[in-house]
Symmetry: C2
Subunit: 280 residues, 2 copies
């Protein structure tokens, strides 16, 4: 089918790359250089200088924009959409975005809210690659407005991109679990780097554990501050739960409780091992 992509950044470019062998990809980006790059590298069949050019051709359009840009894009351009078009959101927060979009979107256009749980600590189409989706998780957050056939189509496309599991969640479940698996991990990584007192040349004394835990501190601050604030309550709740767990370790250390430390570590190792089972 002919698939549209609005926003040729890391994610838009990677989706194009993952779908281009089976579909015709048309794309639009405010940045003409990104469109030129995508054309030159064969990621898209056609670049559009105007969204209307894309709207007239694509039956389904991935909106690869930051959450607030999605709202602005819909406000500005939906008058030009063809009736029956399917939009697909791919951003990392849902409740706030769904509320905002539901209030403004034309009723003859459907939008499927999804979250490909994949990415890179890089920004821009030059770093796009289809491989980031291989074996990864994809979440669909159906709304009452969605047509079943559209949900099914989006699910099928996710599997074509290489995602291994596609799960349906409601918006509140999505935001609660993602606050833990994605946003909390980023906060911890950031705070870990921030707490470096830099009395020595840290670089000379790190191992893979520090490298692994701080890689995601190479963050896109505009996107992530928006994601954090759009999921503020859940994220604050997960930070609190984390602090409770951290305090367990403080207590065991202060009381020199070797047996207690071992018990807690063993429990945790088992839980983590269960996650790994069947993992890529």
């Amino acid at each position: 089918m002919r698939i549209g992509i609005v926003g040729l950044g890391l994610m838009g470019g990677s989706i194009a790359s993952a779908l281009k062998s089976r579909h015709e990809i048309v794309a639009y980006d405010l940045n003409a250089e990104a469109v030129a790059f995508a054309s030159a590298h064969g990621l898209i069949q056609q670049g559009c200088a105007d969204p209307r050019e894309l709207f007239s051709q694509a039956e389904l359009i991935y909106l690869c924009l930051y959450p607030q840009e999605i709202v602005r894009f819909i406000q500005k351009h939906q008058k030009d959409l063809i009736s029956g078009t399917v939009l697909v959101d791919i951003s990392g927060v849902k409740r706030q975005l769904i509320n905002q979009v539901s209030q403004i979107l034309r009723p003859d256009v459907d939008i499927v809210f999804t979250h490909p749980v994949a990415g890179r600590e890089k920004k821009g189409i030059a770093f796009a690659k289809a491989e980031i989706f291989q074996g990864a998780n994809y979440i669909i957050v159906p709304t009452a407005h969605n047509q079943d056939s559209h949900l099914e189509l989006v699910r099928k496309l996710a599997l074509e991109m290489g995602f291994k599991t596609v799960s349906n969640l409601n918006a509140d479940e999505h935001d609660a679990i993602i606050a833990y698996t994605s946003q909390l991990t980023h906060v911890l990584s950031l705070a870990l780097v921030d707490s470096d007192d830099a009395l020595l040349d840290t670089k000379r004394f790190i191992g893979d554990s520090y490298r692994d835990l701080t890689r995601i501190a190479m963050i896109n601050e505009v996107l992530w501050s928006e994601l954090f604030l759009a999921n503020q309550t859940n994220l604050l709740d997960r930070i609190k739960k984390f602090q409770v767990s951290l305090t367990k370790y403080v207590g065991l250390l202060e009381t020199n409780d070797a047996a207690g430390l071992q018990r807690l570590m063993l429990d945790t190792r088992r839980n983590r091992a269960n996650l790994e089972a069947g993992e890529k």
Copy 2:
């Protein structure tokens, strides 16, 4: 030269593997199966059923044991050591171990305290591989008792194993920085897994960030509880500093401070990028 290895676990096996092409390796382990495995896989030239057999041949001996086992091993076996032998410790904490060993070690035997900052979330010689040292950091903690030629030899062997940087630190510096780069990272990873409320099937909603941050929660609880408690004061201090950094994020989230979040993230990204410069 002829190099001895006491303790054929993940680290002992990896050191054997990294040095075997240039040196003759003789090894001892309480567990006869580990010795048989190392022989069968060509990691060592000779397995010894008794430490004395090893002592009589090796000029330099890596003690690949948990810290408290090092103390017990020295207490039990040092009467059989050849005068002039160089022992090498490779454990992850220094101040407490150096104090304990200094009180008991024969004066005609030298011990060089070192820390190869490398490992795997696996246990046992079956997972040993020389590659874990490639490009990694190595720390030497010289004592007043050490002969310069022994320090130089241990440094040279670290480079032969594939380590990229070899740094000298005093024991207090070592324990302070390692509490941050290694032990704190493990505590955070453990607490992150522990704080899972498991209301949903977490596995279906994780991305690479969660995988990366929790891999080291697959912990060897006996070794790490010992390491944590042997470096208790430093680790508690680093947890406190981390909590201060985490609280910055709580404050910015509670006050909806997008600009403040972006500033802090940007600072952190730059600091992390500096670490990456020249990294493997």
